[in-house]
């Protein structure tokens, strides 16, 4: 066991865990931030997507000992124009069905819009390929990202 001081959603938090504990476990079990979901645990589904220093990260793929001084942002703490545009588009399109994967979908969509302001269908497919949705809401996800991109133009 070790004590790790980590920066999550702008606040410094201290946790006592084994160094090889995945970040996702720390977020959910130690810090109570359950927005990021456990789906596969092997970086295949995207349900646990958070940001590390502003870039998308599968929280199941990183041991807490490797986090260092990086800043983690979860869906509970994400903000900014892209986040607002995606949130509005998601609500307007009624994107989620069961909703389990949606926090990961939303985080990946925000990350894409930060990099490409007006993504094409191809851009969206490439960025969102790593986020699986067993309800197959992919068509609505893609439409909502286009809506969010248009909203950001205004």
């Amino acid at each position: 066991m070790g004590v790790f001081s980590i920066n999550v959603n702008g606040a410094s938090r201290s946790v006592e865990v084994e160094g090889d504990t995945p970040l996702l476990w720390v977020l959910r079990d130690n810090l109570g931030l359950t927005g990021a979901k456990f789906g596969c645990g092997i970086a295949l589904c995207g349900a646990c997507t958070v940001f590390m220093d502003g870039k998308p990260l599968r929280a199941c793929s990183l041991p807490i000992s490797a986090l260092g001084k990086s800043e983690v942002t979860t869906i509970e703490g994400v903000s900014g124009p892209e986040a607002l545009a995606v949130q509005d588009a998601w609500v307007a399109r009624d994107v989620p069905q069961c909703g389990y994967c949606q926090s990961g979908q939303v985080m990946s969509a925000i990350a894409l819009l930060k990099e490409i302001r007006k993504p094409t269908d191809h851009d969206i497919d490439l960025a969102m390929n790593g986020n699986l949705c067993r309800c197959a809401t992919y068509v609505r996800i893609r439409a909502a990202i286009h809506d969010a991109a248009r909203a950001l133009e205004r």
Binding site: D20, I42, P56, R58, A66, L112, A127, N129, G130
Partner: protein
């Protein structure tokens, strides 16, 4: 009674001469082969056991998609090379791959994790074509032979092939042995196997 013994000695002597000549041909310095030195080609073929190993080939695709596992299956999830070998915007390699292997999630890692450049795609190519490719500074990232030998001997991402973690089969041998083979290949003329049947 003496004749069989004489015949045996003569036959054994002849066999030794033949075997010795064969051994010299196998690793000889004089036999040429399509303009290149046979010993050099033999050395490159040995190094080719590493180059054609899935640990190396998986991230040397000729198209935009890496493969994975010992069976070289398409990478899951669907990822692409991107402009710099680090993936598409929004789904970079670093989304899942970090500075070290993380066996709890089954995810391999290295500080330099990325795809080889498209000009260094190896999958489906012959060993001869790969040989010409890695010697060509126009395709190998502007490396001269010294830089190439340093790369194969010292590069950490190349070295990952022998420390892949999880249940991945490591590349054969060691990086040091691979580097020594490549240096011997370079020193012997850097000959490339011909693409056509020998």
């Amino acid at each position: 009674m003496r004749r069989p013994r004489v015949l045996f000695v003569a036959a054994a002597t002849a066999l030794l001469v033949v075997l010795s000549a064969a051994a010299q041909r196998t690793l000889g310095q004089t036999q040429t082969f399509a303009g290149a030195d046979a010993r050099s080609i033999a050395l490159f073929r040995e190094a080719g056991k590493v180059l054609l190993n899935p640990r190396c080939l998986n991230c040397h695709p000729v198209d935009d998609r890496p493969t994975q596992t010992d069976r070289m299956e398409p990478h899951r999830p669907w990822v692409v090379r991107g402009v710099d070998g680090n993936g598409a915007p929004g789904l970079a390699c670093g989304t899942c791959h970090h500075a070290a292997n993380f066996d709890a999630a089954g995810v391999p890692g290295n500080p330099g994790w990325r795809l080889a450049p498209a000009s260094m795609g190896w999958q489906g190519r012959s060993l001869g074509a790969i040989c010409e490719q890695i010697k060509d500074p126009a395709r190998n990232g502007a490396k001269d032979m010294d830089a190439l030998l340093h790369h194969v001997s010292e590069d950490s991402l190349v070295g990952w092939a022998w420390m892949p973690g999880g249940r991945r089969t490591p590349a054969p041998g060691t990086q040091a042995a691979f580097g020594a083979l490549m240096r011997a290949w370079a020193d012997s003329g850097a000959g490339c196997p011909p693409d056509k049947a020998e």
